[in-house]
């Protein structure tokens, strides 16, 4: 269970551990969280297991524990060394937890959870748009906490700076992910129904390496800054809203479109941006019905009214009282 938090405005020392691998995705989250903690008055260090310097911390967070461990034990058949180090780190921190950014019904989450059990970490902080508590197995629910993937202060400032500028966007859509059957079928329909000259990039599924075909965060940003609609299809059938894709689109001035093959669930009503979640059967009609400028303005406006990342961190991880976090809401 989450241990008692110290006083809200104490100069807390926070350590955020990222994988530091080629997969930029989780590292980005680590640095965003670092900014949020910093804005809340904490002193923050970011490291990998390799660069960790033993010290005392009030809080240690691992951003995707499994990736962190795998990156540390690269080339080794098991994660024994990583588990040993994490256990040693645990002895030098008051509070410890794992940050999740994935659907809890997938194997990736199962790997992380297994590692949590092996290292004795009980606090799971799920960063996203919706709580996945109902989808978790009962035994896993203890220690689960959801917090909203809002903007940091610097991200908010950036959005406010460019929200009224209108950059030319010659690319109508971008559809990017690893190649699998469902995505390939969708790409075929996308080209037939929504125009041929969008960006399609579906490399084969492989580990992310320097030599591999993946694009990194900067490259994605570069593409989205010239693209009207950033479209994706989940590669699993479980209900999950990929909040980082929405944020990536926002930061590049693009409009995110999540295409799903099911009707909205009961939970959908509580989600933001449901107007950007289109059903696969008639996504093209809905997309054509959009006025790009209007839907972009609405998306930006809506995102700016949502709680900030600082607010989520303060309330959920630091357990600060609501009034103390109002400035960051």
């Amino acid at each position: 269970m989450l241990q008692d938090a110290p006083a809200p405005n104490a100069a807390r020392r926070v350590l955020i551990v990222v994988a530091g691998s080629i997969n930029y995705y989780y590292d980005t989250i680590g640095y965003r969280l670092a900014e949020a903690f910093h804005n809340l008055g904490s002193v923050v260090d970011v490291c990998t297991l390799k660069t960790y310097q033993p010290a005392e911390y009030d809080l240690t967070l691992y951003v995707n524990l499994y990736e962190v461990a795998v990156a540390y034990c690269k080339g080794q058949p098991d994660l024994v060394e990583a588990i040993r180090l994490i256990k040693a780190m645990k002895a030098r921190t008051t509070q410890i937890g794992v940050v999740l950014l994935e659907c809890v019904q997938t194997n990736w989450f199962a790997e992380t959870y297994r590692l949590c059990e092996q290292t004795g970490i009980q606090a799971l902080y799920d960063l996203g748009f919706h709580s996945q508590y109902p989808y978790m197995q009962p035994a896993m629910r203890e220690g689960y906490h959801f917090f909203f993937n809002g903007l940091t202060q610097s991200e908010r400032r950036k959005v406010l700076r460019w929200r009224n500028t209108h950059q030319e966007r010659p690319i109508p859509w971008a559809f990017i992910g690893h190649l699998e059957k469902r995505r390939m079928l969708f790409a075929h329909r996308l080209i037939k129904r929504c125009g041929a000259n969008g960006i399609l990039y579906l490399p084969h599924l492989t580990h992310i390496t320097e030599e591999g075909p993946h694009i990194n965060g900067e490259q994605l940003q570069k593409i989205l800054e010239r693209t009207r609609y950033y479209i994706w299809v989940s590669h699993h059938d479980y209900f999950y809203v990929e909040s980082e894709r929405f944020r990536n689109a926002l930061m590049a001035g693009s409009v995110p479109i999540k295409v799903q093959d099911h009707e909205p669930t009961d939970e959908s009503a509580r989600l933001p941006f449901t107007y950007l979640m289109l059903n696969e059967t008639d996504f093209d009609e809905q997309l054509r019905a959009f006025d790009y400028a209007d839907v972009r303005d609405r998306f930006i406006r809506d995102y700016l009214t949502l709680p900030s990342l600082e607010a989520g961190v303060a309330r959920t991880i630091l357990q600060m009282p609501h009034h103390a976090t109002a400035d960051h809401a």
Binding site: I171, M184, A187, G198, E211, I223, R226
Partner: protein, 273 residues
């Protein structure tokens, strides 16, 4: 390959869509139609363009159909060349196109495939911007009878794994001058059916650039008895792999070797990605 004639040394910019044909009467209309639409789009954007069909002595009704198509669409830029004797190798016909094309850039289009007209101008801008020898986009592999998409080809930039097998199809826009300078395609029996693989390796390891453009360039239809659906006999595969290793990677030094072309991805509205 003979020396380049003087008339070919400075061909005007523009695109020749070259379609080698051998007994594809029933699908020629689709490939030629897509090529004519692409040529019209290019001309509308002030890019000179033509469609050149090179028939490799077909024995079906192709030649009659092609003559009719040429009569109908000559004004739209369709030219037809009929070979009297079959070359026995698609590469030989493509090499002929290097000499017969009017324009500097050639899009090789198989007679049973289809180019996506809207994206050819993007490939053209990409090859002009990058001075590449070859630019290509993804191809959607479509079952010819059901029309269902089955796979995606040519979907990634040039990487070392191409030494193990080819994944960049012939449907690509090439700089004819660079191909002539590189002696064109290998047209003997050693790499029959896999001439594109040999060409990709030859260009890359000659210091030239192959650039991936992340758009869909066309459709590759899986026809019965086509190269992609017929399983290659193991001994043929071993022979071809042996040739590739002998010609390009005999000392196993290629992986990680400096290249001008590894991971080149480009889009004219983005630059290199």
């Amino acid at each position: 390959m003979p020396n380049t004639p003087a008339a070919l040394r400075n061909p005007p910019n523009g695109i020749t869509i070259a379609i080698p044909n051998w007994n594809h009467e029933f699908v020629l209309g689709r490939s030629v139609g897509s090529a004519l639409r692409a040529a019209a789009l290019l001309r509308a954007a002030d890019v000179p363009a033509e469609v050149l069909v090179l028939d490799d002595a077909s024995r079906d009704g192709s030649t009659t159909l092609l003559r009719q198509l040429e009569a109908l669409y000559f004004e739209d830029g369709l030219r037809v060349l009929l070979r009297v004797e079959n070359s026995g190798a698609p590469a030989a016909v493509r090499n002929q196109a290097l000499f017969e094309a009017r324009y500097r850039y050639i899009l090789f289009l198989d007679a049973d495939n289809e180019v996506l007209p809207e994206n050819l101008p993007l490939l053209y801008r990409s090859i002009l911007d990058t001075n590449a020898a070859l630019v290509y986009g993804s191809l959607i592999l479509v079952h010819a009878e059901s029309g269902e998409a089955q796979h995606l080809l040519s979907a990634e930039s040039f990487q070392d794994r191409i030494l193990d097998d080819n994944y960049i199809d012939t449907l690509a826009l090439v700089d004819r001058m660079q191909l002539l300078d590189a002696n064109g395609l290998l047209s003997d029996a050693r790499m029959a059916g896999r001439e594109d693989w040999e060409l990709n390796l030859h260009l890359a390891f000659s210091g030239r650039r192959l650039v991936f453009v992340p758009v869909v360039a066309g459709y590759y239809y899986t026809m019965p008895h086509s190269l992609i659906t017929e399983k290659m006999p193991p001994e043929v595969w071993q022979r071809q792999l042996g040739y590739v290793r002998r010609a390009f990677n005999q000392l196993d030094l290629r992986r990680g070797h400096l290249l001008n072309t590894r991971h080149l991805r480009y889009h004219p509205d983005l630059g290199y990605i």
